[in-house]
Every structure is written in C-alpha cells, then in structure tokens.
Assembly symmetry: C2
Homo-oligomer: 363 residues x 2
C-alpha cells in the first residue's frame, strides 16, 4: 500500500510519528506564520504571536488533561533525563528519603539520579522478571514521611504500563513521557507529572511539567536558575528562550487531539490499535511472544520476540521492505517493538498485524 | 518593497531570521526527509539518517570555525543560561576561583551563576559606563591560578563586541551566543566556546559547545548525567535524545555558510551590513546616538537611541508599517536595536538606513 507523500508506517519509539495534519500545517506556515512575515523558528519568544502560541499550548494541554486549579503547566528543556536530576535536587531535602517504583529502564535511571542527591528507597523493583510487569499502585504504599514517591507510568523499552492513577496518600511524581495523552488521567492524584515531548506530543527538545503549587512550595528558595522549577513557573516557562518550535508543534498536536475527541476518544482508539497487534501475537501459536504480562501490556510500546535472532532479523528486514519501519526492539528486551503512539495511524496497526500473521505462516 | 512569501525584514535579537534557502529546504523536506518516509521531527535519533544529520552538522561546524584537533564539538540543551551554571559546576573546583569579564547583561548572569558554585572574581566590569565598551583582552590578564577566565564575545543587549581572540595565557571560556560564525576566530586560543543556537545558527533549543580535551579532563569524574560535559562528549551529544530538529536546521545553516564563502566572506558582508546603519546613525547630526563606543560596535546587534521616548515609539511604529520589524531596544539600554545576524539580508540594512535618514529629516 502507499501512503501520502511517500511516507512510511513509522514504529519509532521516539522521536516518533506526528499527525500528518500537523505536519501539513507546519509546512504551510513554515516561511510565514499567519501573516506575521516570519517563521515560528525566527520569532522572538517575547513577541505577541509567540506568547499566544505558548499560551494556547498550555491552555490546550490543561483542557486535554483536565488539569485542576492549583497546578502550574510548564514547558522546559533537557528531556526527562534532566528532570530525573532536577526532581531530587528540588524535592529531596537533606535528611529525607524518596520512594521509587522501578518497572523498567527509565525508572532505573530516575532512581540512580536521586541517589546522587540523597536517600532513595526502591519500594518495588520488577528486575527478577526482567521488567515484564507493574505492581498495583495501591499495593506499593509510600513510606511514611517520604519526600515523594516516583514511578514511570509506561516503560518505553519494556512496554509495560500501570494503567492507573495513584489512590493512596503521598506526593506522587510520575514520568509519563511515553503514555501522556494516550488516555485520561486524574491529575489531582499527582504532585507532579512530567513528560518528554518526543513520543506522544511533538519533536524532541521540550519537557511538559505539570506540578501542584503545594508541591512547588517545597522546592528550595533558590537554586541555579535553569534547575529551578519555581523560577520557571514565575516566568511562565520563559526564564530564558524556550524551545519555541517544539512547543509550537506540541500545540498543534494538542489542537489535533481536541479536534478528534480528546483523551476519552483517543483511549478507545489506542486500545483498539494495540489489541489488533496483541491479537496477532496471541493468535500465532507461540511464534510471537509478548514480553509484558497481559494485564500490563502497553498500548504505546508493544514488545514481542520471535523464535530466534535470524528470524527476527528477517522479520524486521521484510517489514521494512513493506513500509513498516523501525520495528527493532531495544537490546535489553530483544526481539521487536512496535511503538504506536497517538499519531500512529490505526490502519498501520492492521497492516502490521496482517504482515505478522502472514510472516508466521510462511516461517 | 515586498519580500518573497510576504516576509518582513526581521530585526529580532533572537530567535532571529534564518536564511530563506534553509527555510525552503526544510519546508520541502518537512513530510518526508530525503525519501526516508518520515520527517526529521519523527526520526529516531539512533537511526542512520539522523546520525548522518548530526554528524555532518558537527563536521561542518568544525570546518567553518577551523576547529583544531583535540576539541570536542557538542550539541546540548538548556540555552547558554544552563551552561552559565554547568561551567562552574564542571570547572570551578572547591578552593579555586574563576575570573569573569563583565561587559553586559549576559556576562552578569554568567558571573552570578558562578558565585552560586564558588569563588568568582570580576576582573573587569563596564558598569560605570552602562556597558558601552569592552576592554582589550590583553589588558585583562587572568589571575594566576584562576580555574578559567570567562567573557561574552558579543553582548546582545548592549551591542558591544570584543572583535578579538585571547592572546594571553589561561583557560579562556567564551559565550559566543550572539556572534558565533559572524567572522573567523582562532579556536585554539580557547578552552571552551559555547553558543545558543537561536541567534546565528538556527531555532531555539540547542547550544553548541566546543571544548578542548585538556579542559574537559579537568571536569569531575562524575556528576548528574545531563550536567556532565564529559558524559555528553563520550556519547556524541546523545546521552539522551538531542533537540533533533534544531540541530538539523543548524546543519542546513552551516551548509549555507559554507556554500556562500565561509566566515571570511561572511565577515566582509557583516562589516558592510553594520556600516551602512552606523553611517546612518553618525550622519544624522546627533538625531540617532549609538550606545556602544565606536571601536566596540557590534556587527550583530546595533543599539541606538532617539531624542525622546515619543519619537522612539513613532520610529518603531512607522518602521514596522514599512516592513521593518522588531526594532525596539531592550529596556536596559532603551531606544532601538537592529539585530542583523548572518541570515539577515544585506538589502534590509540599506532599507533601514534609508528609512532612518528619511525619518530623521522629517522629525
């Protein structure tokens, strides 16, 4: 089959595919944004048009997630990786300890960064089963007095997702980089949510941060400006020049999500998209094996293995020749990974499922 | 006069105008980069096409600046502001002191960040003359034993430029955010050069860092990953996902600079571009007053005042109506600022100069 503009079905885990409508609009506006005479890439971040772009992006993200009063919404830099460090620098005071739930590679990196700052307590670690599952959040209580409790809602590499919001006490901090906006969440359950843009929101280079005022008040009075959530909040994400283009594209994605029914509708689509591929796995008589336990199977990153390395390599090469790109899994899990974020077209999931079934029959 | 695509002459101080050829190429490739089937915004940073993009960007930047052997060239995040903090965190060990030359607003911010880490010694400060000049670098010797000596080659807000490389001993660290690539420099004179992309290289969201191996060896063995120059160097700027699109556009700008004669040719053009506007200032019989001392007048950011605030406001409004945008100066200097970075067309400088002369005669 052939896609418009000669495009491929792009299963990249991030940076990853964007809605074609968003790319078309960005292309249309590239040399002259709405009659301003300049590209968004050339626009002063202090100009009225750019203030409107970042203001609408913030407002639309608030609407999509139903962010309640009393939360700041920021667009910062450095990827989730910088925030792995900024969070304990800001919220793990000397003498205190923070809890970490580790369900995959990114959670591990988060706890490593916390340990460089102070005491971090791993309250759950799925290492024994090679990170194929998540606990029930209600069963992983925060340690009394913990500065906060951190988890990774969806592990991109392992493809496991909690599919739930916290319901027990504590300042819950969540890295939602790879499943933010894939379904509704109850923001009021969290002290802080953060997410790199480059999976479910836009290009690489921005991190969305949603933080409650009460949690923000616990940050130290002063730290290095670019590591200071409070200062960034006071300056509306513009202490210095923000990643303007990335925020602009995120804003277009938010408008696309609103226009297509918001997160309730998106969750239904994502559930269907994932199901068709998991059905191909489960219906293959064991040819494909899902990595994640069924209850924790991610809708965003679908991880599976094939009988052996040669077959896997042949599968990936044949898929690529058929316009199904970037299916190689991460080395720590092996096999294949199909990342089907919000912008990945449903049709591509059916094409992959059909290809998988056909390949298994021929193999 | 009318420009292609209804574009304006954009005097923004940053983000600022990009070469029209670069924008046209980015537009052309926006939905499908060179037959890969994906946009650069959607491309895995670990993919071969992206490795080629960032690899060529690095190589072209090395070629343009004549970076000698023994230097790393990195593309990082956080703007120069994050590096104001990362530099002392990495290179100002306990018990040592670093020297800072302060010739404007950005140099002040750099020294403030250093003081949060340790001892910073201001060896020159142009505050008494409201930052209208720079010293001769040879006359500002580094303190014996200083960890490094820092300066801002061009102050964007005040519009003053050193126009020289260091020639005395010491580990010279330079923030070149607003004049990098505007003329040739002798990189071998520096321990480290860094520059935000959004003035003379590309969109906001990346910082180019050029650092000598010898200086890098002085960094601590381990720090937070995203604040660790050494780790970033070991990972070829890809410890985590880089700001892919920004680096891609920077790469296109580097190719444009190479194709149009490199930095020798660019310096000639920049000198001419600035001169035509400074001539309009000096030929106005005192109607316009340049902020910077003549020897230190920036080629990139041209700062001048008018007789009073009302006249200034009228000048800016009339200029805008004539397609000359973003001429308002920064509040700390007042008046006007015309930023005419590499990509700003020479013709626009003539148009502004003519407008200035005409306006002064009418006023």
């Amino acid at each position: 089959m052939s896609l418009p503009y000669g495009r491929a079905f792009n299963f990249s885990a991030g940076p990853s595919c964007l809605p074609i409508e968003v790319l078309e609009e960005a292309k249309e506006q590239l040399l002259n944004y709405k009659g301003t005479g300049v590209s968004v890439m050339e626009m002063s971040h202090r100009s009225k048009p750019y203030e409107q772009i970042i203001g609408e992006a913030e407002q639309d993200l608030r609407t999509l997630l139903g962010v309640p009063e009393g939360y700041k919404v920021l667009f910062l830099q450095g990827g989730a990786s910088l925030h792995f460090s900024m969070i304990p620098m800001s919220f793990l005071p000397e003498g205190a300890s923070a809890d970490y739930i580790v369900t995959g590679s990114w959670g591990k990196k988060a706890v490593e960064a916390a340990k460089m700052v102070g005491s971090a307590n791993v309250v759950y670690d799925a290492k024994a089963t090679n990170y194929d599952r998540t606990p029930k959040l209600a069963e992983v209580a925060a340690t009394p007095g913990a500065a906060y409790i951190h988890f990774t809602s969806n592990e991109t590499i392992q493809g496991v997702d909690f599919f739930e919001d916290p319901s027990t006490p504590g300042d819950w901090v969540c890295d939602m980089s790879s499943d933010i906006l894939s379904r509704p969440v109850d923001v009021s359950r969290y002290a802080m949510i953060y997410a790199g843009a480059q999976k479910n929101m836009g290009p690489a280079g921005a991190v969305a941060v949603i933080v409650s005022d009460a949690f923000l008040d616990k940050a130290p009075a002063s730290t290095h400006p670019m590591l200071d959530y409070r200062l960034q909040a006071e300056n509306g994400s513009m202490y210095n020049t923000p990643p303007c283009w990335t925020v602009y594209i995120c804003g277009l994605v938010y408008k696309w999500l609103l226009k297509t029914g918001g997160l309730e509708a998106r969750a239904e689509i994502n559930r269907r998209k994932a199901q068709v591929i998991y059905d191909a796995i489960d219906g293959s008589g064991g040819f494909y094996k899902g990595h994640a336990q069924p209850a924790n199977r991610s809708w965003m990153n679908l991880t599976f293995t094939l009988p052996d390395d040669d077959t896997t390599a042949r599968f990936i090469a044949e898929a690529k020749a058929n316009g199904l790109a970037e299916l190689k899994g991460h080395r720590s899990v092996g096999g294949c990974r199909a990342s089907v974020y919000n912008a990945f077209p449903e049709e591509g999931c059916r094409v992959l499922a059909d290809f998988m079934t056909d390949f298994a029959q021929r193999a």
